[in-house]
């Protein structure tokens, strides 16, 4: 794959005939996400604004764990989690590192993108440094060979331990309406960031996904807004 070095890729890029998520602040290099040298400004501004809001709210309310979740699969949740973590990690004067937790045990996309296929096949979660400044990754917990969920207490305990070491823990949650694990994680994190794909996600799905924790949603990422004006779409 020829990786562009001067421009960021803000949209879907095809790699080996498969759609892979990319990020404004990251580039895909040989199946791995690497930092972008010049991120796409509008996207980066959006995440920086969200990061600023999260930092303020965290300072105000004292929370450290936050989950990035969506109602359905494929709405850009993992990409949003990476971008949010990267933008949080780039905050000047901030203490500590940002931990990105791959909470999607089924897909393990985040682990695969940041640590490769070998890490994705590893049976236990691992803490790993990423190529992004100030961002570490907790890989996804291994699957247990069949449909199952982790107990909330396990997640709560794990997140409590992690939040003691990391001022901001960003959890990439599974899609709530597709994976029950997402419901567990939704209840275990202290704050929520919802990812919505414009024109696809319905109000009803959002209401089902948020449930009774709507008050803990501190940010919403509207994915696909003003899509027509993006350079790549024009080129296409």
């Amino acid at each position: 794959v020829k990786v562009p070095t001067t421009t960021s890729l803000a949209l879907r890029r095809r790699i080996d005939g498969k759609a892979e998520p990319t990020a404004a602040l990251a580039l895909v290099d040989q199946g791995r996400l690497v930092p972008a040298s010049s991120p796409e400004a509008r996207t980066a501004d959006g995440y920086l604004r969200l990061s600023a809001h999260i930092l303020l709210e965290a300072e105000r309310h004292g929370f450290r764990t936050m989950g990035v979740f969506s109602a359905q699969e494929g709405e850009g949740k993992t990409t949003a989690a990476i971008n949010l973590a990267v933008s949080l990690g780039r905050a000047k004067g901030r203490e500590g590192r940002v931990l990105l937790v791959d909470g999607d045990a089924r897909g393990r996309t985040l682990t695969r993108l940041l640590c490769g296929e070998e890490a994705a096949e590893h049976p236990y979660p691992m803490l790993a440094a990423t190529s992004f400044e100030g961002v570490d990754l907790l890989t996804a917990p291994a699957g247990n060979g069949g449909p199952a969920i982790h107990a909330p207490t396990a997640w709560l305990e794990t997140l409590r331990e992690l939040s003691a070491r990391y001022p901001q823990v960003v959890v990439d949650c599974p899609a709530i309406l597709a994976d029950p694990e997402g419901v567990v994680l939704r209840e275990c994190v202290e704050a929520l960031v919802l990812v919505v794909e414009m024109g696809r996600t319905t109000r009803k799905a959002i209401e089902q996904a948020v449930g009774s924790v709507g008050r803990r949603v501190i940010g919403v990422i509207l994915n696909g807004a003003d899509d027509k004006k993006t350079p790549l779409r024009k080129k296409a």
Partner: protein, 529 residues
């Protein structure tokens, strides 16, 4: 979005397309036969003719009703042998179905087309032309019937008007006969006669006055003549007396000449001289002649006086008789003049009476004359109307149907060569459109069922008022895991759509002749391509 919902659209489209294709290819080819008719105003007798028009012939009004007039029961019966030869008695339902097989199209404001669609081009053209001809014949017959009715009506009107006119004329003549002398149109004659009579009266008065004077004069002369016993000497002498006077004067001259010659002879001669003796004897002779002449003259005078006297008496008598005659004549003339005067005066009185009665007669005559005038005017109008109605009848009876009915057939129906239907593509497009519509309806229903999608940041701001909303371009819309079940369902749907669409395409290709028609479907295809 469309790609994501592709099956929602493709399944209804394919499901509807197959039966639509089956239906379309099963239809037989049809042909349209068209006849074009121009509607114009009917001008009986030409454009400038004053003849009345039968009914209304304004093209816009005709166009409003011509459709119903074409598809009447009588007209449609003419096409029954062509379009439904097996029908023994045309019932209303059959006629109604026949009427529906014809189309009527308005072209502009004064033209229309009569169209018939049939699987046989010859029958289509024949049906259109037959129906059109029946329509024209019926229109002409209808107009002729109306014109004849109008003519009969005007004939009755004319007869009534004639009777009224005759009655009014008789009344006027009777009145005029009764008041002949005092009719207003006699006024001038009466006035002139009156003036003439008055002039004659004046003349007669003068004449009478003159006659009276004459009679008086004659009376006076008669009285004067009666007083005159002898007539005064008139001094007139008779011829004999004149002759005697002249003879006496001659004798006296001869005596004086003899005495002078005797005196002269005595002066110179003696008594005895022969000349003196001769002269003396001559003087004596002359003296004797004088005496004799004087005696004769005296006698003649006396006789003349006697004759004069006798003559005067007779003359007086004649004169008196003449005067009397003149007087009688003058008297008679006077009496005649007086009689004439009286007659003139009586006539004048009579004329003045007539003159005085003229206004009254005129007042009495005026309504009669007015009635006669009105009756005459009415009669003339009725005669004109009757004549025009007769001309209109002739016009409709003798003219060509396309001329007298106002429906000019600009193009009779020709046998069509090109097919006009069925609209197979229309059926297919309709099926596709209907399928898309159903797909859209399903999409809407699904949308309602699932709820509205998020379309703007404002939607999210309403849902999460406390959260910050950031908008980013479409990032990382990763692949979605699909289950085998859903994949199987998608494959099944794909197979169904491909099968149905393939069948439709095959049917169309077979109909067009691009591929051979299967044996078992040979009878299914309606024919044509």
């Amino acid at each position: 979005m469309l790609w994501r919902r592709r099956w929602t659209f493709l399944v209804p489209v394919a499901t509807l397309l197959l039966p639509a294709t089956l239906y379309a290819v099963s239809l037989a080819d049809v042909y349209d036969a068209k006849a074009t008719v121009l509607v114009r105003e009917v001008e009986p007798g030409g454009a400038d003719s004053p003849l009345p028009r039968e009914g209304t012939d304004r093209p816009d009004e005709v166009m409003a009703t011509v459709r119903d007039r074409i598809f009447t029961r009588n007209n449609l019966q003419s096409v029954v042998p062509i379009l439904a030869p097996q029908a023994e008695t045309p019932d209303p339902r059959l006629l109604e179905s026949l009427a529906k097989s014809f189309a009527w199209e308005e072209i502009g404001i004064s033209s229309f087309q009569l169209i018939h669609t049939n699987t046989s081009p010859d029958r289509a053209a024949l049906a259109v032309n037959t129906l059109l001809q029946a329509f024209l014949d019926h229109e002409r017959a209808e107009r002729l019937r109306r014109a004849e009715r109008s003519r009969d009506f005007h004939a009755k009107d004319e007869k009534k008007a004639k009777e009224r006119y005759d009655a009014a004329l008789a009344r006027r003549n009777e009145y005029r006969a009764e008041h002949d002398a005092t009719l207003p149109d006699r006024k001038e004659g009466i006035t002139s006669e009156l003036a003439r009579r008055q002039t004659q009266i004046s003349t007669q008065i003068g004449l009478i006055s003159g006659q009276r004077s004459r009679v008086q004069m004659l009376d006076d002369q008669l009285v004067l003549q009666a007083n005159q016993i002898t007539p005064a000497a008139t001094g007139q002498t008779s011829v004999l007396e004149e002759t005697l006077r002249m003879q006496l004067a001659e004798v006296n001259r001869a005596l004086k000449a003899g005495e002078q010659a005797l005196a002269e002879a005595l002066a110179t001669k003696t008594e005895k001289h022969p000349d003196v003796i001769r002269l003396r004897s001559a003087v004596e002779v002359h003296r004797a002649a004088v005496s004799t002449t004087m005696a004769a003259l005296e006698k003649e005078r006396r006789e003349a006086q006697t004759r004069v006297r006798e003559s005067s008496q007779a003359q007086l008598e004649r004169r008196r008789k003449m005067l009397q005659s003149f007087r009688d004549s003058a008297q008679a003339a006077l009496e005649q003049a007086e009689e004439t005067l009286r007659s003139h005066q009586d006539r004048v009185v009579e004329l003045q009476g007539h003159l005085a009665k003229i206004p009254e007669t005129a007042r009495g005559l005026e309504p009669i004359e007015r009635e006669l005038e009105e009756a005459e005017k009415l009669l003339r109008a009725r005669e004109d109307a009757h004549r025009d109605a007769r001309l209109v009848v002739d016009y409709y009876a003798e003219g060509e149907p396309s001329e007298v009915t106002g429906f000019s057939v600009t193009a009779w129906a020709a046998v069509p060569v090109e097919t006009s239907g069925p609209g197979r593509m229309r059926y297919l497009l309709t099926a596709i459109g209907l399928g898309l519509l159903i797909g859209y309806g399903l999409l809407v229903l699904r949308h309602r069922h699932e709820g509205a999608t998020i379309a703007s940041p404002d939607d999210l701001a309403g849902l999460f008022p406390a959260a910050v909303v950031v908008s980013v371009p479409l990032l990382g819309s990763g692949k979605r895991r699909t289950s085998w079940r859903s994949r199987f369902a998608e494959l099944g749907t794909l197979a169904y759509v491909v099968l149905v669409l393939g069948a439709s395409v095959f049917l169309i290709a077979a109909h067009k002749g691009w591929v051979a028609k299967p044996e078992f479907l040979q009878g299914f295809f309606g024919g044509g391509a």
